[in-house]
């Protein structure tokens, strides 16, 4: 490997800085508001999880009954945090990769507020008792046109930027992000029209809903996270992607296989017999794009192991990619119709897998992206190395616990459910310890994200460090050769490009 890794020229840097500057308001809005929704969602998650093992907790308030808080928790996590983090990252990445400044920042910001407004009303709707009762689509019906309108207003600019990009090869991240941007409205419109407008067989409607849930995970969150990881890893390490053709193969295998997944949640239901099996096979096959992409990214990064250790961006991204491997393995393990599917179908495994995909994989990669993007668009560095480490480690502890619950606890619960000779009470008691584990895990994650949100808020207010030196996780000798952390303007001409990484 060549040691003379090319750094960018100043002209190029000014262009990119200009892009970052133009995007500051919409991107910071999405990331900060997303982090706020993440905190809200996790609070709701702690409450819901507590109600499973202690049903008397807060049970005098109708807004906090388990059926509503659990639905609100998931919808806030998906549409409040997941989508907004994705929007922030998408518009920044697409601008950078198309090398176009964002000229519609105000409009995107407004659309973001519209999206935020829509889901706020939707969440109040769920908690006050107007949920539609369709998993992941519980917002009252009026919310979805609002969300769709906001969505188009946000992403259309990225497509326009792509169209006017300078000549040159298109990078894999752009394919992943554009695919996600095309898949989501197709899936969203289909599900909402079929479930709210065109009446049909009620069981098949439940099937469409299950397909929708799977499509959001595999055809929106996964490609966004993969595109981001494929960008951040070579960007920070300077190494090329390990095998670019494997990356393209991974993308197309995701595109061809995953639209078939989802119906396995309805195994045994009176829908056409082959549908759940096709869904199960497709979910099992998710392992292939997941594993190949993960190996690709990990091999790229691990060649520069010390960079990964130092950089918050890469630590989170690699953790996310390992989460992807766990997710891919869980997808195989939990969805085998002959053996494990009957146990995982109606147990904590389903919820655990969803959290694995949204938090262990998607969110960690988004955190990595946030730690990368925010200093660039605010032109301030992160304030505290300790806060970043705290966020990282406590989140890891929490999500590992959730992964164990999902994979093992859910199966145990399912085994208890399938024991038809014992009374239901005895079967249900098996789930107890796993419910406790979930509550503890969510408390840990809440703690870590509370500090993350505070940190991000401070950065949004541009109170970060004014420095040309990045906030790294490990400083050599305990004393940075570039001056104390928190120093201001110690970088003069010619020192900014020192080989600190």
């Amino acid at each position: 490997m060549s040691s003379a890794i090319p750094t960018s020229t100043e002209k190029d840097a000014l262009l990119r800085a200009g892009i970052d500057r133009s995007l500051r308001h919409p991107v910071m809005f999405f990331l900060t508001s997303g982090a706020a929704w993440l905190a809200v969602s996790i609070i709701l998650g702690v409450i819901s999880s507590a109600k499973v093992h202690s049903p008397g907790f807060l049970d005098s308030c109708s807004w906090l009954t388990y059926g509503r808080t659990q639905a609100a928790h998931l919808n806030a996590l998906v549409y409040g945090w997941g989508f907004q983090a994705a929007f922030g990252v998408i518009i920044w990445l697409m601008s950078r990769l198309s090398r176009q400044e964002c000229r519609a920042a105000g409009l995107i910001l407004t659309a973001g507020h519209v999206w935020n407004f829509g889901i706020s009303i939707g969440l109040i709707g769920i908690l006050s008792g107007y949920s539609t009762g369709m998993p992941w689509m519980e917002f009252p019906v009026f919310a979805w046109p609002v969300m769709l309108f906001g969505y188009f207003a946000i992403v259309i600019w990225s497509f326009i930027q792509f169209k006017v990009r300078p000549d040159g090869p298109v990078y894999i991240s752009q394919w992943y992000l554009m695919a996600a941007m095309i898949w989501f409205p197709w899936v969203f419109i289909t599900a909402n029209i079929l479930l709210h407008i065109i009446p049909g067989n009620p069981v098949m409607a439940a099937g469409i809903n299950a397909w929708y849930k799977s499509a959001i995970i595999f055809l929106f969150f996964t490609p966004v996270a993969l595109g981001t990881a494929f960008y951040l890893t070579p960007k920070v390490t300077g190494r090329p992607i390990h095998s670019y053709s494997l990356a393209k193969l991974g993308f197309w295998s995701l595109a061809i296989v995953m639209p078939w997944a989802g119906m396995q949640k309805l195994t045994g239901a009176p829908i056409p017999y082959f549908l759940p099996y096709v869904g199960a096979a497709a979910t099992v096959l998710f392992f292939i794009p997941a594993f190949t992409a993960a190996v690709n990214i990990l091999r790229t990064a691990m060649a520069s192991g010390d960079v990964v250790n130092n950089s918050p961006t890469l630590r989170f991204t690699m953790a996310g990619v390992i989460g992807l491997i766990v997710m891919g393995t869980a997808a195989v393990f939990l969805n085998l119709p002959g053996s494990t599917l009957r146990y995982s179908q109606f147990s904590l495994s389903g919820y655990g897998f969803e959290i694995l995909s949204i938090y262990a994989f998607f969110s960690f990669v988004m955190f990595g992206a946030i730690y990368f993007i925010v200093p660039r668009i605010t032109r301030r560095e992160w304030l505290s190395r300790r806060l970043i480490k705290f966020h990282f480690f406590i989140s890891i502890y929490g999500i590992v616990l959730i992964a164990l619950v999902a994979i093992f606890g859910g199966i145990q619960q399912g085994v208890g459910q399938e024991e038809f000779n014992i009374s239901w009470t005895d079967s249900a008691l098996r789930a107890f310890p796993y419910a406790w584990a979930m509550t503890i895990a969510w408390c840990a994650i809440l703690l870590s994200n509370f500090f993350f949100f505070m940190h991000l808020l401070v950065m949004w207010m541009r109170l970060g460090r004014r420095s040309s030196h990045p906030t790294l996780l490990i400083s050599d000798h305990g004393h940075s050769p570039h001056g104390e952390e928190g120093d201001i303007d110690t970088g003069g001409p010619g020192t900014a490009s020192a080989a600190a990484h």
Partner: protein, 273 residues
């Protein structure tokens, strides 16, 4: 790769799956052919429509709004997909007083009156497909079925054997007032947690009506009757060949396939006398 190629390939790969897994099955199942149950005593053709008595639509809304589907399922799976059919009281009753074994799997006609089948997400609590049957015949021995359900919704842990139930208390579906003079006619028999009298709200009434309508153990036509042939009499009515080939529910397929099947298909069972 140009954007055009990319977009066309993406549309093709997604579109095929979208058509095969979403659009085609949804539109095919919109119009299910009614299945014939044979003729009744007066010679008129009886059709299998498992209508349920009760305020199904309103009650299903209350059920959905309060997230009952997050802990309860409404799906009795066939034996190749789960052990639901082996439980004595989920698919019906194993020892029904009149019908013997009345259990059966959920079929596509079972959610008549609802827009969205609340198949359910997880099983913290038992399956509810036949809750109405269980409440009427097994749970509510000394009190009326409605009263039993009101009690359960108000405080799921009221019975000592249910003190570990994780079901939330739906007290907010009831109004509690201090007792002034005579108790009102609509008040329930048990006191609220503050000692007052309790009246169910319209939401509670709709929900209880819906829950009591959950009876999915009706006799089914032959094409949906999967009981093993050598076993005890399942109350299948006199077996006529069901409605011919336009059926979307596979009855025609099954009948045609029956002679070549190694395992006896229901159509080969001698008509029950």
């Amino acid at each position: 790769m140009s954007f055009r190629t990319f977009f066309l390939s993406l549309s093709a790969s997604f579109g095929v799956a979208w058509l095969a897994v979403v659009i085609v099955p949804y539109f095919k199942m919109r119009s299910l052919e009614p299945l014939s149950m044979g003729d009744d005593a007066s010679g008129t053709n009886v059709v299998f429509i498992p209508k349920r008595a009760g305020r199904i639509t309103e009650g299903a809304e209350v059920y959905a709004e309060n997230g009952c589907y997050l802990c309860h399922t409404q799906l009795v799976r066939p034996t190749y997909a789960g052990n639901d059919m082996f439980r004595p009281d989920w698919g019906g009753f194993k020892y029904d007083d009149e019908r013997g074994d009345s259990r059966r799997e959920t079929n596509a006609y079972d959610f008549f009156g609802e827009d969205f089948a609340q198949i359910g997400v997880a099983r913290m609590g038992p399956d509810l497909s036949n809750l109405g049957v269980r409440v009427v015949n097994a749970y509510a021995m000394d009190i009326s079925p409605e009263d039993w359900l009101y009690r359960h919704l108000y405080n799921p842990r009221w019975k000592p054997e249910r003190r570990d139930s994780a079901c939330p208390s739906f007290r907010f579906l009831f109004d509690e007032k201090d007792i002034k003079g005579n108790p009102s006619d609509e008040a329930l028999e048990f006191a609220g947690i503050h000692g007052g009298e309790i009246t169910p709200t319209p939401d509670a009434r709709a929900l209880v009506s819906y829950l009591l309508s959950l009876k999915k153990d009706q006799p089914v036509p032959d094409s949906l009757n999967f009981s093993p042939p050598a076993a005890a009499p399942t109350p299948a009515p006199a077996a006529l060949i069901p409605a011919p080939a336009v059926g979307k529910e596979g009855d025609a397929v099954k009948t045609d396939a029956a002679p070549s099947e190694a395992t006896p298909a229901p159509a080969e069972v001698a008509p029950a006398p």
